[in-house]
Each structure stands twice: as C-alpha cells, then as structure tokens.
Amino acid sequence: MAKSKKLDRRGFLKGATAGAAAGAAALVVKPPAVNAQETAQARPAAPLATPRQVALETGAPPHVDVYTTDRPGADFMVDVLKSLNFDYIFANPGSSFRGLQESFINYGKNTKPEWITCTHEEISVAMAHGYYKIEGKPILTLAHGTVGLQHASMALYNAYADRVPVYLILGNEQEIAFRRSDVEWAHSVQDAASMVRDYTKWDDSPVSLGHFAESAVRAYKVMMTPPMEPVVLCANGQLQEEPMSEDDRRSLRVPKSVIPAPPAGDAAAVEQAAKWLVAAENPVIVAGRVARTPAGIKLLVELAETLQAGVQDRKFRMNFPSHHPLFNTGSVAAADVVLGLEVPDFWNATHTQTPINRMGMQSRPITKPGAKLVTVTAGDLFSRSNYQDFGRYTEVDLAIAADAEATLPALTEACKRLITSDRKRAIEQRGKKLAEEHRRNRERDLEQATVGWDASPVTTARMAAELWNQIKNEDWSLVSDTTFVSWWPLRLWDFDKPYHYIGGHGAYGIGYGAPAAVGAALANKKYGRISVNIQCDGDLNYVPGVLWTAAHHRIPLLSIMHNNRAYHQEHMFLQDMASRAGRGVENAGIGVTLEDPHINYATMAKAYGMYSSGPIENPNDFGPALKAALEVVKKGEPALIDLVTQPR
C-alpha cells in the first residue's frame, strides 16, 4: 500500500476537495457523469448561466466535511479474519475496536464469526479456552489494548499454561491525532502486547492493512503449531476506521493460511524408547495433555494395550477411557520405565515432598534406582523464562522434543515390531494383573462413595453419583474440572469420548471455570450434547456475568453449584501455616470463608435470567431438582442448581 496516496481522517476534516486527493473520489457518492455538450444540445432553450453559476461549476468546489466512507479498512480486516474460519467472536465491547466491531456485524453479516456478547474480557478469553477444548478450533477475542487486556490477562495466562490457542485482537489508537478525548488517551498504549508477551507465543502491531493481513495469518499459523499458545494482534484504530484507497482495494489480498504438520519424534529416539518399553517389566505411562485431537485417545489406548502398561492420567485432558482396565493403574514408584507424554509437571509425577520439604528445601525421587525416564513433549520446543509454569527441571534418560500425539503412531508401531513371543506372554500377564488392580480401584471408589451418603452438606461423591444417574443415558460432556470435587466424576462416570472431559485451568487462575464451561457448552450446542458444569462458588464470584451470556445466547448448560462456602484450598493452607507456627487453627477461617451472609446462587442465576433452584442442603432433594433442571437444558436453555456441599 502506498502511504503517500492514502487519505487519512485529518485530510477529510480539513475539507475534502474534488482534486485534493485521489482517494477522496472513493469516499463520496458521485453523481452520474454528464456530458456537457450533449446536455447543451438537448436543451438549447435553457437560459444562459450567470457569472456566479459559471464560477461555481468551473472553479474549485467549496470545502465540504466528509464523515462517511463506503469501505473502511476494518472491512478488509474482516475479510482476512473470516478467511481463518473462526466460528465466533467473544468480546466485551470497546471503543478502540469499534470500527472492527461495526464491520463484523454489518459488512461481515455477523456470521462466521458470530458476535457473542461477554460482560468481562476475562470471560471472553476463558470462554475461548473452554470452546477450544471441545471443538478443537480457536476463537477470536477482542479487547481494548489497555484496560481490556488488563482484564483478560489472567485468562490468557491460564490458556498459555494449558497450551490452548486463543486469538486475541487488541484495539489501540496509535496515532495521537486520532485520540478524541482523555478517555482515548488513557486507552492507548505504545506497545499493547508487552503486558502479556511473557505468556503469549507471538504478537504484532501492524502499521498498514497489508501488514495486518500477513500478520493475522502468521499469528494463526504460529498459534496452531504445537505447543499451541495464545497470540495477540493489535488493530490500530486508524487502520480500522479510515477508508481504503482505490489503490488499497486493488492491491490488498488475503494470504493463504496453512497450518504446519505437528512435529513428530525423531525416529532413532522413538526406536530407543520402544526398546526400553518393550523390555520393561513394569512400564507406566503418565499422560498429561496427550490427546490434542479426537484421535489422541485411540492412539494412547493402542500404545497402552500394545504394552499392557498402566496409564496414570494427570487429568489435564480427556486422554484415556476411565473404565478401561489400564486406566489409573500401575505405579511410577514400581516402574522400570516411565513414559511421560506432554506432562507439564513431570517432576511432580516422579518425586515426592514431605510436608517440611514443601517449604522448598528437599525432595526425593519416587522412582526405583535405575528406572528409565522418557519424555515426549512439545514443551521442549518452546520456553519462556519469566513465568515459571514450566515446572522443575527433571533429569530424564531420553527427552523427545515433539508433539506426543503426532509421535504415538510411530512409537506404537516400533513397540509392536519389537515384541517377541516371550515378551508377548509377559505383557499379557501384566495386563491381567493391571485389569484386576483397576477392578479393585473401582470397587474401592464405590465403597468410599457410601461414606456420608446421607450427610448434609452433601458429599461430592453423592453429587457426582446423582448427576451420573441423570445424564448417563444422554450424550453428555463434563465441561468443568474435577480437582476440587476429589475427582469423583472421573471415579464414578464412564468417560470415553473426546468431549467427555475438558481438564482444568492450566495455571489455576480462578475465574476460569464458569466462562470455560459456557464456552465449551457453546461448542457442544450444535451437537445437541448435554453440557454439565460442576461450578465452584469461589470461581463464579469472579465472573458471574457469564451467566447472562449463557442466558442471552441460549447456551444449554447444566451448572451444579459446588457451594462449599469458602476458598477451601486457602483455608487448608492457613490451617497448615497456623499449625506450623503452633498457634492453633481457630482463626484460619478469617479471610477465606464465604459466610454471613451465605451467597444464594440460585437467586444470582435468576437475576441473570437463568432457570435455577436451591440452595439444596438435603441430599435427597438433589435428584428431583436435577431432573427438572435437565428438562430446561434439553430445551436449549441454561439452568443452575445451588447445592450446598462438603469442602471437597
């Protein structure tokens, strides 16, 4: 784009003239061309023009302020972004991207992507986080480059730590002459992405529409290459709102977008790993964020079954069927080979810390001496230094820097090739033992669930069992983490489909749960699935406005409040600290409980226009309430049940 030919808004405001700039012709509606000679012949009897009329028609036209344009730059931005095939935009409105918003809803016809109204930027990004984990497609989010990004930043960090791509566009007015008021000065920033550069994979601040197009497509490609991470692209206000010149219209094009094939492990390294695994007496697989696509589950099952190796699932993704005989069997402590697949906390999976050592002084490996440790992770291909989510350095015997899912086919094939008939017999024997272990684990979990069955507050085991009873015959999807309910759904329900579970926060930034659930439920909506959200009370209080988004956009979602009336993790930490200090724990509730008054989440949901019931304290009332709420959800609406629960 030739900048010298571009007409900016200041040019218009000074007064547009017909010959002042080439671009101006594109901005005003021209009258039909008229041949003066033909006109004179057709109307010979017309009176002669006065000198004033002659002067008006032949001299320079008067100054006319032009406030309209038929094609702002944002239209082209929309063309570019539509080419990336986003389903939705999640955004809270902001003046710094008003041009882009207008182009999306009018020029772009508010389809592909469709605008979803969010009440907070943290919600926008966390919804995008949840949506991706169901649909495997990133969402376009928009925010102010200043105050909007400040709101969005924690959710962005969660997505970063959870290896989830989020495409964030920041509105920003870089040119000072375009800032209309003190508000726009306060909302403008020199380097908008700098605040989140430590936990995004790539960013750019394009200075022209052509630059925007290339960077927009590049951002998508970078984001979608494992390890997948959020990216940020700044949309300069001037570029959004100013008209495109004729030259621009002719020269601008949308670059082709191609997503790179994910990196698979080095063949020699994969062969070495296979040799160790096949020769092992007790191999164990530790699964982190392995299943990146629906194929990931099948691939992991195939490897585990080939080796008859136990799978210790770290519960970051839907990696492995929960009723499979190898699920959560085997032991890292007893293993002679430990295979870590996309495990962000592999050190924690292979070490233990005593309470005193939790202060950071000492630790102890739990693996046997001589055990081989092998990792396959795309995390080895990308590192940042400031934020420490990369975890502690783990001494391993073989580190394969690659995407685990892309590496699994070769690893499984190598294992199959190396298995002799002797090894096959040993492997089958091991499988029988692990299947028995799985059966015992399941029986133990069921027995455990009976304790406190009739208690009030309701146990999390009872909550999970009652929920399962209502949804087990539906096409369901659990769109929340299970960490804070002692993993009961994973212990009782039958998880086997890719959308059955979405894992957790990534960085444990609270305020993720409710919006991620709504985002995931939106992804499930077109498939007619019943989305189920076990909603922590502390989490919802960060971002209650997402209830309105669910109600407004008719997003079917069954939310069960895990209303334990405190920030219990912190409560436990305070007890721990008070005990260490020998001071007693009577005061450990100060600052961590949500009591006096109790928060009524059913009322809260109603205020946002959502069906609700509760608070329920009697466990026997929960089943009927669930049934009624499920009917609402089946009709395409969200519903919330406020259940008063045990801490964990």
């Binding site: 309470p355 009976t450 005990s579």
Partner: protein, 113 residues
C-alpha cells in the same frame, strides 16, 4: 493414708480411662473447631486432600502419633495446639462416624458396578 492412696489410684484410673476412650461429644466440638473436616469432610469421608477417617482403624495412640508426625500433605499439630486428651476425644468421635457400608445397600451406587 490408705484412703488417699486409693483416691489417687482411682483418679489415675479415671484419667487413664479418659485417655483410652475419649469423650466423643467433646471430640465432635474439637473436630469442628480444629478444622479436621476441612480435608477429611464433615462425615470423615475423606477427600482428595485427606484420608477417610470415619470409623478410623487407628487406636487413640496411633492417631496421636500420626497427628504429631504426619506424612503427605497433613500438617503436624503440636501438643500446644491440640493436646493428647483432645486428640483422644476426637478419636472417640471418629469412632462414632459410620464407615463405608456395602455398595449394594446404596441402590444408586450399586447400579454403577
């Protein structure tokens, strides 16, 4: 003198009885005051963060030893914070909490087998 001796012996027996059996009613108060429920649940059912302690298999001395020098995530509680007698009372309360029952007795869970 004999009488005094008998009285002291009786007192000692009484204290010994309290230490070995504990006062479950007081134990319940302490269970709530000292936040045992936080990790172990109000029903002692256990959770991700604490073992099941309803109808504990430990004896009182075993519980005291564990609380003083725990393993895993459990914080240590010194005598200044919670006395042996108080722990014995808590132990007595834990013994009153029902442990697991047969899964077949809970129809909803039985369907999951």
């Amino acid at each position: 003198m004999k009488i005094i001796g008998l009285f002291v012996a009786a007192l000692g027996l009484s204290i010994g009885f309290a230490q070995s059996n504990g006062n479950a009613e007081n134990g319940k108060k302490l269970f709530l005051r000292d936040g045992c429920w936080e990790c172990h649940g109000y029903a002692g059912q256990g959770s991700r963060d604490g073992a099941r302690i309803a109808s504990t298999a430990l004896n009182a001395q075993g519980l005291i030893r564990y609380v003083r020098r725990p393993s895993g995530a459990m914080p240590a509680y010194v005598d200044k914070v919670i006395t042996d007698q108080e722990l014995t009372d808590i132990w007595a309360y834990l013994k009153t909490l029902p442990g697991p029952k047969p899964v077949k007795d809970v129809p909803l869970l039985n369907t999951l087998r």
